[in-house]
């Protein structure tokens, strides 16, 4: 099928999102059905596209010579789009229950649906300009979602979010310009599309700018602060956007830059690579330590996300195919795990109205199922075999060791230490939930019940996926391996 088909899943949710706003649904049920239909339809379109669309790029609009909006479908895009397509409808289900009873729900769902289309735009972009355009729009459409509650905290979070990401994007714009001018119009070609040697000072500077610019969305140190603050947003937003869609867009953009604009092989060992990879190694440790210190449930998860995003960046920046494979695998698996963890955190907050770690004491009795899902996720994140987190961690560390350079080994060590910190910050929550010490104020009984059904369904799906990918990761890993070698 023609690559023009890719426009359909991008445009449908954007228009559909506007639709919610303009149709002004009075009845909640109708609106929910409408929104879910749009999202499911989009996912179906994405899945059709993944299997049928040809892999050559198509130009949609040209700003000036060289700067144009192009789309194509390649391996990396397929992975990200496929992941988003499966997750979006599920998190949407969760959101219905979560935001029930708040004001301006239409606005929420309107933007929530639109974000889907924009994220797909990022997936399907075939040159830097297009990526940049959707990347900026992504910031703008998610802003109202972050500030949704409109209390002091949320507004502050929104401002911070906007300042960081728009600032970051402007850093990256330098790279966009350089990549477009000195390359094939900034087209994404595996192995690099620059026409000049990547190791010249200008190019190395562009690499670093691009890394930190796009890295803002991937919460790279020292630009990571917006992410924990942004967990003031409603949980579906945190679960999907700040664990998967938005932050992975950051990682994805770095992948595009490091592997599809810059010649990865050539950049290996350059100052640019070393600066970036050590920053990633540092971030993944630093954020894990912050997560241990953090006492707010969702902020702790957010710091954990910061740490895990740097796992991916570490893999990508090894600039070896094995590293890229590991990074992309972690992008997928972390998305699955972290979405589930956030959903559990959200369910806890939604059901009990509490949000601090110490308030979790004994909740396992009241919400046994939710915290069972949480524990599975925590084990996976720590890296216990039979869960998918182990697979990607295995790939990352072996890639680091196989790389043989000091940066690879240092990263591998950092990953191990961070895994230990991860065990502390994630498992201690499970321990509190199931084994409160006597004398602490426990929940007296099961009054109030556990999580609502619409929240449990998506959580369960993610938990099952967690285990499935944990015991039989073969096909997915093979697919990602093909992407990393530039075959797809």
């Amino acid at each position: 099928m023609s690559p023009l088909f890719l426009l359909m899943p991008i445009i449908l949710p954007i228009l559909g999102g506007f639709g919610i706003f303009f149709l002004g649904f009075e009845e909640e049920k109708k609106r929910n059905i409408y929104a879910e239909t749009i999202v499911v339809l989009t996912s179906v379109l994405v899945l059709i596209a993944l299997f049928t669309v040809r892999h050559d790029p198509v130009q949609v609009y040209s700003f000036t010579n060289g700067f144009s909006v192009d789309f194509h479908l390649d391996g990396a895009g397929m992975l990200f789009a496929g992941m988003v397509a499966i997750m979006w409808p599920l998190v949407m289900l969760y959101a219905f229950d979560y935001v029930r009873g708040t004001d301006r729900q239409n606005l929420f769902f309107s933007f929530f649906v639109m974000t889907y289309g924009v994220t797909l735009g990022v997936c399907f972009a075939s040159n830097l300009t297009t990526l940049y355009v959707f990347y900026e729009i992504l910031t703008l459409v998610t802003l109202p979602l972050v500030s949704y509650y409109e209390d002091h905290e949320s507004l502050y979070a929104g401002r911070k979010y906007a300042a960081y990401t728009i600032g970051g994007a402007s850093l990256a714009f330098f790279t966009v310009a350089i990549g477009t001018v000195y390359g094939h119009g900034g087209d994404f070609i595996y192995g690099g599309s620059l026409l000049r040697p990547g190791t010249s000072t200008l190019m190395q500077a562009a690499f670093i700018f691009g890394f930190f610019g796009f890295g803002v969305k991937a919460a790279i140190f020292p630009l990571q602060k917006w992410l924990p603050t942004a967990s003031a947003a409603p949980t579906p937003v945190t679960a999907l956007l700040h664990a998967v869609a938005v932050v992975n867009s950051g990682v994805f953009a770095v992948v595009r830059m490091a592997w599809y604009i810059f010649p990865a092989e050539q950049m290996k060992g350059s100052y640019a690579q070393l600066i970036c990879i050590y920053t990633a190694s540092f971030t993944l440790l630093f954020a894990a330590a912050k997560a241990v210190k953090e006492r707010h449930f969702k902020r702790r998860m957010a710091y954990s996300t910061v740490s895990n995003l740097s796992y991916m960046l570490f893999g990508v920046l090894l600039l070896t195919p094995a590293g890229l494979q590991a990074g992309l695998a972690h992008m997928l698996f972390h998305g699955i795990i972290k979405a589930a963890l956030f959903m559990c955190a959200g369910a806890f907050m939604h059901v009990t109205g509490k949000s601090w770690i110490y308030e979790i004491n004994g909740v396992g009795k009241r919400m046994p199922y939710t915290f069972a899902v949480y524990t599975l996720g925590a084990l996976s994140l720590t890296g216990i075999p039979l869960f998918c987190g182990f697979v990607s961690k295995w790939l990352l560390i072996t890639a680091g060791i196989a790389d043989g350079t000091p940066s690879g080994v240092v990263g591998a060590v950092a990953l191990i230490i961070s895994a230990f910190l991860c065990a502390i910050y994630s498992l201690s929550v499970s321990v509190r939930a199931y084994f409160p010490y006597q004398g602490s104020d426990r929940f007296p009984d099961k009054s109030g019940g556990g999580s609502p059904m619409l929240m449990l369904i998506p959580m369960t799906v993610f938990a099952v996926a967690n285990i499935l990918f944990g015991i039989a990761p073969g096909p997915v890993i093979a697919f990602i391996g093909a992407i990393a070698k530039g075959v797809i």
Binding site: P385, V391, T398, I401, L427, F435, Y437
Partner: protein, 479 residues
């Protein structure tokens, strides 16, 4: 497949029994007993007819597989004996405790996990089993659920997980330089072509692995959790933790050193020297701490720190002899320390005594229990014909012929000093108990526990004796 069934049965059955509604606690306990016996039957079948089995493929060259070898089977058998003894002992001990249900469920689940540790076929499977063991035994530690118990449980959890991750670090390196499918082979499976030029980092990784897995075995500097966590658990759990669960760390070290990188690779390197020093330090320090400790269970825990490092010392000699001595000590220490903790538990439930100072005259009130204490102490100190004597003999021999310079002589010397200390912290307890002196005016009524508690102890004493008499024959298959 049989091994898989034997491993999964207690895990699944334990969970089911704990979840299903029962008319009363007694029915449930009977079911737990039945599950234990059935597990034993299955496990014995597995020992006799079990075949290697591969379950999942996690990545290229990374599989989950179980393949029993003589060493695995040997330790597997010890695990079976210990768990069975403790489960039956626990029924009476836990009678008046709250939340028995959870306790027994986790007891059985950890049973499965520990069996898996013994027969894991490669390092990744071993890591999985090892982590499962930690996660399923820490509820046993924090059973009392007061502040101290929860803190001890967390300490145990984090030390163990941290240690396991250090171990995992070694696993990564070993896999990176492995030849073939990295399944355990005596003498190691490293690909010397791949290793060439990377010896330094690989040695460092192996050392990290030894220290990491050594955490579970209470080896200095990662021993801190053991004296906190072992005494605070209910006595049956402490018996298991000290006697056999801590040995999981030993199993991992054996698998890493002897079956993955090969003893040859680290013989004579700084890793061996550092390992011997750590083991000697732990032996001495543990005995000293035990000597000054007044609380019986804590004293026993420190004693475990010291005694398990005997095994480590044997292993660190990196010879077949050393390995053999370690394995004999594994069995004899498991049996004797299991007995001692059971006795300590009986003092607590029957007399309410936790301090060694209050045990005067107890020998008259519960002679059988006290005799078990005595026999187990003999083994621990190393008096022939008990297991402890044989194992120390073999370990010392291994040390003397190891060619490690000064350590060849230092090791037997430290063993002797530690034996003296061991005698010093165990025998006075027994002497006071049996010979309280003429002026003893305390109670003399008989408070011997029922057969449900004494028979398991007697059996374990017999095991300690068997280790001493037939230890060499039992371990002759190795190498």
């Amino acid at each position: 497949m049989l091994f898989l069934i034997a491993i999964l049965f207690p895990i699944i059955a334990g969970t089911v029994v704990s979840v299903v509604k029962m008319p009363d606690g007694h029915t449930r306990n009977r079911l737990y007993a039945a599950v234990t016996i059935l597990t034993d039957v299955l496990a014995v079948c597995a020992l006799l007819y079990g075949k290697p089995v591969t379950l999942f493929k996690l990545a290229e060259g990374v599989t989950i597989s179980f393949s029993p070898d003589p060493i695995g089977k040997y330790i597997f058998a010890v695990v079976l004996i210990l768990y069975t003894a403790v489960v039956f002992y626990a029924f009476e001990y836990m009678e008046h405790e709250e939340r028995q249900n959870v306790f027994f469920a986790f007891l059985l689940i950890s049973f499965g996990a520990l069996m898996a540790v013994c027969v894991s076929g490669n390092l990744v499977t071993l890591y999985l089993s090892f982590e499962s063991l930690t996660l399923t035994t820490f509820p046993l530690v924090l059973h009392e659920m007061d502040r101290a118990a929860v803190a001890a449980g967390l300490k145990y959890l984090f030390y163990s997980v941290g240690g396991a991750l250090l171990g995992l670090f070694a696993v990564f390196f070993v896999y990176s330089y492995a030849s073939g499918d990295a399944s355990f082979t005596y003498g190691g499976f490293l690909d010397s072509a791949k290793v060439a030029g990377h010896e330094g980092i690989l040695l460092a990784a192996v050392f990290a692995g030894i220290v990491g897995f050594g955490t579970k075995a209470g080896m200095y500097p990662m021993h801190g959790w053991l004296p906190t966590a072992h005494p605070i658990a209910p006595a049956p759990a402490s018996a298991l933790l000290s006697a056999i669960i801590a040995k999981a760390g030993v199993v991992c070290v054996i698998r890493l050193v002897y079956f993955s990188v090969g003893a040859e690779f680290i013989r004579g390197t700084w890793v061996q020297t550092a390992w011997i020093i750590l083991a000697l330090l732990t032996i001495f320090m543990g005995s000293m701490m035990a000597f000054r400790e007044k609380m019986l269970k804590k004293r026993l825990a420190y004693s475990s720190v010291s005694q398990i490092s005997y095994i480590m010392l044997g292993l660190a000699m990196l010879s077949d002899e050393g390995l053999r001595g370690g394995l004999i000590h594994l069995m004899s220490h498991a049996a004797s320390k299991g007995t001692l903790f059971m006795v300590a538990g009986i003092f607590i439930v029957k007399l309410g005594i936790r301090d060694v100072g209050l045990l005067k005259g107890v020998g008259r009130r519960m002679p059988v229990t006290m005799w078990c204490f005595m026999i187990a102490s003999l083994s621990l100190v190393g008096i022939p014909p008990m297991g402890g004597f044989l194992s120390k003999w073999v370990i010392s021999q291994a040390a003397l012929s190891s060619g490690t310079g000064i350590f060849a002589y230092l090791a037997p010397a430290v063993l002797i000093i530690s034996a003296l200390l061991t005698a010093g912290y165990l025998f006075p307890v027994a002497v006071d108990a049996f010979f309280p002196g003429n002026d003893y005016e305390g109670p003399t009524d008989n408070c011997e526990p029922s057969a449900l508690m004494t028979v398991p102890m007697i059996c374990l004493c017999a095991v300690a004796l068997i280790a001493g008499l037939f230890g060499m024959q039992l371990t002759s298959l190795i190498g």
